[in-house]
Symmetry: C3
Subunit: 350 residues, 3 copies
């Protein structure tokens, strides 16, 4: 795939500086060759503009003059996504139905969908237009896969789960496994059958080997446009809002609510029944429970304001041994001072 810089600029509705060229790919500033386009967002890497061999650089106005050819953008990341899309070759090497897939005779797979060998589509399941089901995927009975979805290898969608359009399941993602629900009885933990479902709305992406449990009775929901990283666990009955970013290894306990545009950084743990308001940002490895105000910036376990956490854990914590020594010294000195003080003052105090 090659494209003229001028054509690329027109396609994206952008201007370019310098003369035209033919672009063969996109790469980092350090690795791009003369026939490739690169990009600069973070000013921290601006010095690489001097040494890059890239034929062209996608960047914002202020940097455009520093290279021979620039594609000038007001939202470099967004336009980078579009540029990469031009050169991206989708994963996979087959199309259409495979005779080696198992498609139940009561399933309905759109004629434009691709089902790879060793994929299993259960009774009553529906697979929408242009969706691609890679090898080893399981689509349980009565599940619905919308259009333009991609289920990468070994992704599992258990029975009755609903995926919207343009949903991506990375390899090994599991949607609709049983929630963790048991009744305590004299005979031990008795399983409460999990008869609810999961609804995953449009444009959601779920990372490799992440797990989203089906509700006990009603619906676990992942809101439109939310992006979930790898190895994330989402418990039964959880309601995640729209356009959230849930980073790797986060765990969200059962029946919690996560608002819209929430960011949970890596390895955050959210307790059962928590309620996180819209736009909250929670720092990595934090522990969240209870009600969190929308727009909060929190960190720590349990969470506190992120700025407080930075000082408490980053600055104070390593100095705790010293603080204990200082307090001990104070106690000793004060004792000495009091001992030396006139009798009257001592009496007064006690």
């Amino acid at each position: 795939m090659k494209i003229k810089l001028s054509a690329l600029a027109e396609k994206l509705g952008l201007d370019h500086t310098g003369d035209d060229m033919e672009i063969a790919g996109v790469n980092t500033l350090e690795k791009a060759g003369p026939d490739e386009i690169s990009f600069l967002v973070n000013p921290k890497y601006a010095h690489l503009l001097d040494s890059t061999r890239a034929g062209c650089v996608l960047t914002s106005g202020p940097y455009a003059d520093r290279v021979a050819r620039a594609l000038v953008s007001a939202n470099v990341y967004m336009d980078l996504a579009k540029v990469v899309n031009v050169f991206a070759v989708p994963q996979g090497c087959l199309s259409g139905g495979s005779e080696f897939a198992f498609i139940h005779h009561e399933a309905r797979v759109d004629a434009s969908a691709t089902v790879y060998p060793f994929a299993f589509i259960g009774a009553g399941a529906i697979v929408g237009a242009n969706s691609i089901i890679f090898p080893g995927c399981y689509v349980g009975e009565n599940s619905v896969i919308g259009s333009d979805c991609q289920l990468y290898p070994n992704a599992v969608v258990m029975g009755g789960v609903i995926l919207g359009d343009n949903v991506i399941l990375q390899p090994g993602a599991v949607v609709g496994g049983d929630g963790y629900g048991y009744a305590q009885t004299p005979l031990g933990h008795m399983k409460i059958p999990q008869i609810g479902i999961v609804e995953v709305e449009d444009n959601v992406e779920i990372g490799a080997n992440s797990t989203i449990d089906r509700a006990a009775l009603d619906t676990t929901r992942i809101g439109r446009g939310t992006k979930i990283d790898n190895l994330v666990q989402i418990g039964h009955n959880v309601q995640v809002g729209q356009n959230c970013l849930i980073i790797g290894q986060v765990g969200i306990g059962g029946s919690s609510r996560v608002g819209d545009n929430v960011i949970l950084a890596g390895q955050v743990g959210v307790a059962d029944n928590a309620d996180i308001g819209d736009g909250a940002m929670i720092g990595a490895q934090s522990g969240v429970s209870g009600k969190i105000e929308g727009g909060s910036r929190l960190a720590g376990s349990p969470v506190m304001p992120a700025t407080t956490f930075l000082r408490a854990a980053g600055s104070c914590m390593p100095r705790l041994p010293e603080l204990f020594r200082r307090v001990k010294a104070l106690e000793k000195e004060l004792k000495a001072v009091r001992k030396a003080a006139p009798k009257g003052s001592d009496h007064e105090q006690q």
Copy 2:
């Protein structure tokens, strides 16, 4: 599936209040319709009794009078499990052996078991009565799957592993992958082959994408009735007792021992060679090592008594910057006091 309230009450050995009705399902207080039964355990949600549309509510005596029809229980969660069981439709849409499964000719699969397409049963493996092996599962050579087990899609049981009866593996669970064992040599880390096995006792459930490593030489064991959530890692040689609850994303290091009835909350980390006594409860995200007394209530990393942790991390930690300021002020003030004090006292102290 529909059932009369009177019949349901009789089936469970419970009494009901109000007139009889036909129940078509079970749902939450908020979502249940007039033909459904709901339930109330937590007094916190008792106000929902006023607004629920549920035709009947499973609850304990004190709440029975607040609704038109109640199914009265002394253990609501246990009876809820039984009620849901009445309405639950099991996952899956096939039964019996599939011509698209691979069953080694030296494997023994009970005639009442179900093996889905694309499941693999190795040489010498045994699958017991009524067990269900979903698509993409792997049962290695000489493994034993008891009766009434469910191996959901893409669950992996490596060679030589033993599962008892009524064991559930959620999708993607891996039992019997190699333990993490290497010898340090001048040429780098040399793999120590892991030739032990895993024994999973009766009534154990293992969550989606959780991993239980085989022992280096002898046996990793998961005790009867223990329930393991999603994305949990259990290292080689670990001995987990009976009826434990191990919540999502817990990691247990090699050769550790976990007693009976232990609860490890989400994201807890247990170091290698730890020893956790019966009935201990460890709070979320805690870090455990060494010997833990039975019955302990611990939290923090490293762990301390849970009540101490609550005060130290929840209350004191955010006030650390303030504490440093206070100590600094004390030091300054004390210095001033000493400076102003009569000479004699100063000498005495030094």
Copy 3:
């Protein structure tokens, strides 16, 4: 498999004490029978030498005299690895290509490789000599699997990924899933296609259900001899050096660099763009960001010197409530002292 002690000693280039015997297996000191060899490394377990029934013990010189027969080694773990190798039976029960595998006609699978039923090998993929591809594995288009690799059941290698020789993927490991990269736009998070690859060098092992993301544009790299435990997440563009040990449930954020011989203990989180120097050791559950000096011994979140962390978190943290009380008492006492002091001193101070 049985072997004479004398033959085993010769095979390993070691001496043995006591008379010869026939060894039928290897086991722990507690479980070994008279026809088995056991081993002792940790002096803590030396008392077991008195009670073991093992026919022979692999150990270092100082302990050799305490048992009837010893195989004497200067590196017991290394020689244990070799001993176990003698008795180890590899996983699996088939060899050669399977008619039930899907091997694309443009793929090249070495004649000595084994491809199990329900494995998928995509167009242009290469599988090297003696490599074994277990059921349910996916090898994407144009991927390269070196020689002597083992891809255990349901491991996934997405398109364009390169594995060196002697690489082991435990069950469910995913190499080459999309990195987590989105552009923020007024319409929500727009996916940046991840068109880079992953290179996994020789002798790397990747644990069950671990996930290694493909680079956004260039290459995510796992260096030669590095061993990765279960449920580890490695983000896009990460560069991991040689001979690292990355323990269970570690997460490494995008574009981070990990040097050679680094040890990351269980559940460590590494932020995006971190840079960890050679030989650093990071304690369990720590949080790492920024630049870490080679050879550091760190712990805590955020990290501090491990010895400091031990005192601060292990010793000081539980005593924080007490420290607050002590400081409060000091403030009260000092106030009393100042109140009782002669007027002059008070003035002087303010």
